[in-house]
Amino acid sequence: MLLEVHGVNKFYSKQVHALRDVSLSLPEGSIGLLGPNGAGKSTLLKILLGLLPPTDGSVQVLGFDATTRALDLRQRVGYMPEQECYVAGLDAVETCTYAGELCGMPTKDARERAHAVLAFVGLEDKRYMKVQTYSTGQKQRVKLAQALVHDPELLLLDEPTNGLDPAGRDEMLTLIRQLPERRSCSIMLSSHLLPDVEAVCDSAILLNEGQVMYSGLIAQMRGEQRDTYEVRVKQGAQELVQVLEQAGCEASLHDGALWVHLPPGAQTDLIFARAIEHEIQVRHLTPLKQSLESAFLRLLEQAQEAQ
């Protein structure tokens, strides 16, 4: 298992309860860490890196106890921070070499890997420039390179597309998406940009107010909404909405398609029957799949309703 978190609570003070009884068990792969601001994402990342002890509970990452073997753990984890992060006066090669040395690599090995990893992120032409002179996109690449130089088994990425233009964002996501296969490492991507997570990750952890709302496969989270269908017709969509509502369905129009939620016990025959009655030609009927964003919002709404 990549992560084994059991009953973790974190109090910053009596009033501030950052994590509430968090339990997770996730295998290797690409994991998205989602949640609104203040949900506890940063606290969870700190705890996973062994930088912050949980108030109670146990945390194992890559088989290491994050509380008692934090240094061993951090030797095997790479971290790409959200904010600007460099050592003043160093160029990209020295930055990556230094990063490797701090992870325990001998200088010669660290220097060789620094050149390779800078080529990997496409910075080989500018590797001898001081990092502080780089553009935002180049700084993001250096941050990724320094996180990868020691060949981590787990890479933690905090808002990796922050500040990038659309083209740069696509390129960064392409690079990240290929990491598990090309470099055999797992990824945990913390982001508030759901499309980024959707593009890169297989699994997701959804946090809200310190609690895990969901952890598992994104496909399952997005899932098929039972009894809800997307229907496309040749003509008369508005009429069919009215007809289906009279039949007890919940129906609405979204970009020319009908989203129809059937009443309990009803089958799709109901939609076809009403359409035939009113001579409306159905061209497409499929169970409705949510986007990650709508699944995310639905889970948050459910949590708020439960409170």
Binding site: L51, E82, Q83, A88, Y98, L102, M105, P106, L156, Q178
Partner: protein
């Protein structure tokens, strides 16, 4: 952004133990410091006063030998070894101060400004590694610029001895320098490093350190020299350093004060600075 995977191979080399981090941090900080032209200039210029002092010790020693052989009544001259303390305190303190200003006062504030805390602490680097990695390089540079040349001067004094008893009595300059050097280096590095942990504007923090150093020196020593209040000398960091140096080298104290007071002031200063430093580092938020 092209993806250029030049034949990726998993790293299967050895990983060094965590204690190697001390060496890595110190070596990198020294290499960065050596990259500064101002630092190089300071270190090179700092070699001149000990050379001049060395020539003076040699000539004075020759003069003493000559006068001793003179048929007339011998003229008494002071032991030139006292120049060892004059060199480390009055000459080298300026270079040591510039080094503390360049290497110690901005050491942590620069990391706060550039977000380097995340660079360090997201890796297997503990707060102790980091702390030693900030204080030790500055202390090493102070030792190189001020203490090492003075030690050579003391060795020269011993080397010039004509008799074994003279050589034996002159070893106090070597022993004194070996004892005084660490005190000197700690006083000139721990307080400015602690100061650098209090903000992110390196220039301002360097200004504060310079002000603390010189204003207390002028005030403390000025009032003590101009009035009958020797205790005010304890306000001054350099004066306390001078008194402790005189104590270690076995020279008469310039102010009539109990011997332990300046030592206690310096110990308090270094202790308080270390406390502030540890407290600030324990509160570091690696992720903002």
């Amino acid at each position: 952004m092209g993806i250029r995977d030049l034949g990726y191979k998993r790293y299967d080399g050895k990983l060094l133990p965590h204690r190697s981090r001390y060496r890595v941090l110190i070596r990198r900080a020294l290499s960065l410091a050596w990259g500064s032209g101002l630092m190089k200039t300071t270190l090179i210029l700092g070699m001149f006063p000990p050379v001049i002092c060395g020539v003076y010790i040699f000539l004075k020693h020759q003069a003493i030998q000559y006068l001793a052989r003179s048929p007339q009544a011998p003229l008494q001259l002071d032991d030139p070894g006292s120049l060892v303390f004059t060199c480390i305190y009055w000459c080298q303190i300026w270079f040591a101060f510039v080094i503390s200003l360049l290497a110690a006062a901005p050491s942590i504030s620069e990391d706060v400004r550039t977000g380097a805390f995340q660079f360090y602490f997201a890796r297997p680097v503990s707060r102790n590694h980091y702390l030693v990695g900030k204080v030790a390089p500055a202390a090493i540079l102070v030792l190189i610029s001020a203490v090492a040349p003075t030690l050579l001067l003391a060795v020269l004094r011993v080397g010039l001895s004509q008799t074994s008893s003279e050589a034996w009595s002159s070893t106090r300059w070597i022993v004194g320098t070996l004892a005084y050097g660490p005190v000197y280096a700690l006083v000139l590095t721990v307080p400015p490093v602690a100061l650098s942990s209090l903000g992110r504007r390196s220039g301002s923090l360097q200004g504060v350190w310079a002000t603390v150093f010189f204003v207390t020196w002028l005030l403390g020593e000025g009032i003590a020299a101009g009035t009958d209040l020797p205790y005010t000398a304890l306000l001054s960091i350099p004066t306390c350093l001078r008194l402790v140096g005189q104590l270690i080298y076995g020279l008469p104290l310039v102010y009539d004060l109990p011997w332990y007071l300046p030592a206690a002031v310096l110990a308090g200063l270094v202790g308080l600075s270390a406390f502030v430093l540890l407290r600030r580092l324990n509160r570091v938020e690696v992720f903002s």
